[in-house]
Symmetry: C2
Subunit: 596 residues, 2 copies
């Protein structure tokens, strides 16, 4: 059984010591309400809910899974009751607009609580998580009528939402999708087609499910420019806005998956279901990007969540499990063997998880701050935040899930053979994490988005927005002797990042395939530098507080930063060589030559 304890201290460090949440909130319309005590109380309250209510359901959810019967889905024991508590406590409405029943707190707080909820029980967290994406989409693109009809219910939490993109023949390539939307006389549409892989697509947690569906109007242009977005509720609202007639959308079956068994992954059959157009016709993919960006940050947090859960549980095991003696002499001479945390390689595995979990927290919150600023900053701030979000979202999604999976595997490895046994929960953490590199755009898709669409299409401008920030940070601290070990390698890598990008850009001018060939290694390279920037910032803060209270906390922060710089960051050296090796070694082989 896994256990979870909310990392309140480290959350506070990132919010207030690293990123200065107090000052950040000043620029938000509702900033005065978000004083430090309020935030601490929110984090603490949510932490308790995670620790006591949903974390204990994590392993049960895996074992029981979701049950399908005649189109109805029953979630695992306790999931429904936990969701009721979540709604009663008002969590769904925390960051939404007061006009639709929200509490109007900054959106960044959503990221803070979603880390805890996700680490405690990711499959459960997906039900409210998908709802938030639906809320954002309707909030940004829906009509006032749609907001009144659907958003209020979603914000209340009594209804939940989903995101229906994928069809069996297309996931990445949405231009191929076939689901039809034919106009009715009353302005609504008849939606017909089959969607697969719909997370939280059918369940018993809420009174109604609001599907956000991509479909094609008659005579729409081919490809991605002919896709529109629709609201298709499971039950049509009645005259009072409550649950009315059953709509023609049904869950045909649930997928049997490697993990996240507690979340229902539905095949949804739309059989002339009534739907309502959101935004402009044929502009559905643009609206959907709102949903996708929020889902991508959400998935990045999944990487962090599994790293954190694996770290906490493998740390406890490493302190408890006695096996072999330390090479430098017994550390537990009265016991039959030493606790395995004395062994350097076990420490390597623990510190890797710790560095990725804490690094992920810094990046997730950093991005969340820019989400606030993109909305409420000055024009100049808005533009900068938008650029940074465009750059950092694919990095966070792919890098945090890849390193989250590495971490989850190391957490399991610390347990030795016991890690492979279900009762410890560590193999579940690995299985549940594995989907994060696939859904919401695979690592490969994020990498193409980063290098092709974001960096090269902007002639490197988007990258420069970020490397300038890093450059200024390095300049500000370059004279401090105690920080040299962080600032020097960071400054050097920051420069190399630009050079490497130029190298790939030039190669791509001759052959566009160079972009795809470099993409994933380039993304990982970028991720390591992004984390290095944040770890260096953490080191600056910690270094300044070594003499005060909580010396141990700051000292540990510094040691983790050092571990990251000495044992993780050198991976960039290999990646740079591999990136420069070019596309030929990938393209040279004929299709028929792969098979022997």
């Amino acid at each position: 059984m896994t256990e979870y304890s909310a990392p309140r201290r480290d959350i506070e460090f990132v919010l207030y010591e690293l990123l200065d949440y107090e000052q950040h909130c000043q620029k938000l319309p509702n900033g005065s309400e978000v004083d430090r005590d309020t935030v601490t109380a929110i984090v603490d309250e949510c932490g308790k809910f995670c620790e006591n209510v949903i974390a204990p359901l994590y392993n049960i959810g895996d074992k029981e899974g979701c049950q399908w019967e005649d189109g109805n889905v029953t979630t695992p024991t306790g999931f429904k009751e936990a969701y009721e508590q979540y709604v009663e406590a008002g969590w769904p409405s925390m960051t939404h607009d007061p006009e639709v029943g929200g509490q109007g707190l900054p959106e960044s707080l959503e990221t803070v609580i979603s880390e805890m909820i996700g680490a405690a029980n990711w499959p459960w967290a997906m039900y409210p998580g998908l709802s938030h994406g639906a809320m954002r989409t309707i909030g940004l693109h829906g009509s006032d009528e749609q907001k009144q009809a659907y958003l209020t219910k979603l914000v209340e939490g009594t209804w939940t939402g989903t995101m229906c993109l994928t069809e069996s023949h297309c996931g990445t390539d949405l231009g191929m999708l076939k689901t039809k939307a034919e106009p009715n006389d009353d302005g609504s549409y008849r939606i017909t087609g089959t969607k697969i892989f719909i997370s939280a697509g059918e369940h018993d947690l809420s009174d109604n499910i609001v599907h956000i569906v991509l479909a094609r109007l008659p005579d729409a242009p081919e490809g991605t420019k002919g896709i529109s977005l629709f609201i298709v509720p499971k039950f049509l609202p009645d005259a009072n806005g409550d649950v009315g007639d059953r709509n023609g959308v049904n869950c045909g079956s649930l997928e049997h998956k490697m993990g996240i068994h507690g979340n229902a992954t539905a095949v949804l059959n739309f059989d002339g279901a009534t739907g309502y157009l959101i935004g402009e016709a044929n502009r559905g993919l643009n609206c959907m990007f709102t949903f996708m960006n929020s889902a991508r940050l959400g998935t990045a947090i999944q990487g962090l969540a599994h790293a954190e859960l694996g770290f906490q549980n493998s740390l406890a095991y490493a302190k408890d499990r006695l096996q072999m003696r330390s090479l430098s002499g017994a550390k537990n001479p009265d016991g039959p063997a030493d606790p395995i945390i004395v062994h350097p390689d076990v420490r390597r595995m623990l510190l890797t998880q710790k560095a990725f979990a804490e690094g992920g927290r810094m990046l997730a919150f950093y991005i969340a701050f820019h989400l606030d600023t993109e909305k409420y900053g000055s024009d100049e701030e808005k533009a900068l935040s938008a650029d940074l979000l465009a750059l950092l979202t694919p990095i966070a999604k792919a890098f945090m899930t890849e390193t989250g999976f590495e971490s989850a595997n190391l957490g399991m490895q610390v347990f030795g053979g016991h890690g492979y046994i279900q009762e410890w929960g560590m193999e579940q953490n690995v299985r549940d994490c594995r989907i994060s590199m696939l859904y919401e755009g695979t690592t490969g898709i994020q990498a193409l988005d980063l290098l092709g669409r974001k960096i090269l299409q902007s002639q490197g401008e988007l990258l420069k927005r970020f490397t300038k920030i890093i450059h200024k940070f390095c300049q500000a601290h370059q004279e401090e002797e105690s920080l040299k070990e962080f600032i020097e390698p960071l400054a050097q890598l920051n420069k190399e990042w630009g050079d490497l990008t130029m190298h790939v850009g030039l190669a791509a001018m001759n052959n566009l395939e160079e972009v795809g060939a470099a993409s994933v290694d380039y993304l990982m390279y970028s991720g390591y530098i992004t984390f290095a920037y944040l770890w260096a910032r953490a080191a600056v803060v910690a270094q300044g507080k070594l003499d005060g209270a909580e010396k141990d906390y700051y000292d540990a922060k510094l040691k983790t930063a050092r571990f990251y710089f000495q044992r993780i960051l050198p991976r960039t050296q290999a990646l740079a060589v591999i990136i420069k090796s070019g596309a030929d070694n990938l393209l040279a082989m004929d299709e028929e030559q792969f098979q022997y």
Copy 2:
């Protein structure tokens, strides 16, 4: 559903073109019987058995798992019938001594067929696999009477064997084990204790199960020097040597695991069970090493097996699945999209699997050759082979399973979201592979064995035995322009390997913890160079045959070698930096500081 096709052509390449099996067999006592036609027929026949009989049971075995009822275990549908066919065809006896009913073929052939059997259905393969380890242990350390009573039945295949080491409180640290062995008046022993994680520990495939059990005699010295080895059969042989009375060993339960569901992982309760001492008292661990070394090579092959299975299935999918257009223009203009194999990043994932699978095959067979030579070579050859086996066994076990797991994950990644769904079988390949880095000594344990016990304790001599071979190979080909791209980096890394070892050795003289701190990265580093040596040898062979028949095959071999050198081998650069970073960054943190 996964499918498997035996890689006959590549097996032949490694056996006859890379390693010269014909010449190798000359020095074996039964070498004249092992002509090329015979070997080809054996590989082909075994390949058919794998493709047609056990591969189709791979996904069924995962779904059904093993069922426990009142101490009896039922294996999945078809497993028993497949095992009967395997026995009838004489596969268990192929490489064993004619005196105990074997066919006396070279032991190296066991590796060749076990790759195919393992890739087709690893959980099934474990039943005969564990038996082989038991056979080797009894064959080497058992009395004539024990060989007559047990080995003949194991060789026949009507009985199977297991390996009972682990107890709940000790796996790595066998010195802590508690199972007791008390002498009876008739020279036998009463064995009492509980063993866990016993693969193939109880099942319905064979008439009897011969457990090889580690236990402690009364008044035995503490720790590893007080452990003895026993044969404990499930049924005691009767006067005719057939199945007699039920012995006091029972399966208390089966573990619920992440994968390998088709293999029964048993908790075995020994309740005064009758056992027979193998070899000398208190020398059990030494005898068990025979079993363990063969099990470690077996587990290395598991890494290769999952890489191969993932590669074959993801290659087929990549040719079939249409999604997006090639960046350099449509390659399938008449279809709705291009097959994903046109995308460079998909090729990167396929080539990584291909390079690891073919590299693993070369290393496994290379080791198997030395197993033969250790037995039948000249004294000088025997000594060299023993040294190379000591060095390469931990490298093969850890490196081939780590890269096997990476490959299995890439195979799954090629499928996108579909990879996460059970029906495709790719997530099973990942789950089944994951155990390989844990059992038979974790990656960390292999790494300590390699760097501490093998290399540093021999003052680097064991390493030099191998680097000299690489050095001579490089010298022999250093003038060949067409091979420079392989020989130059290999020669340089081979030198660096020695320097790096010296660096760690010197650091370890000051602080033994430096060994543990460097160990896993050092092992991986060593693995990459070992594969590079074999890939360079493959390139030499292929380069020489580019103008003949099968040009495509050799050209593909050369391109895969190039991919390995350009895109995989540079990882050594990061590893070297990380290794040199020393132990401080792992040891500095106090135990209490890990937690925030």
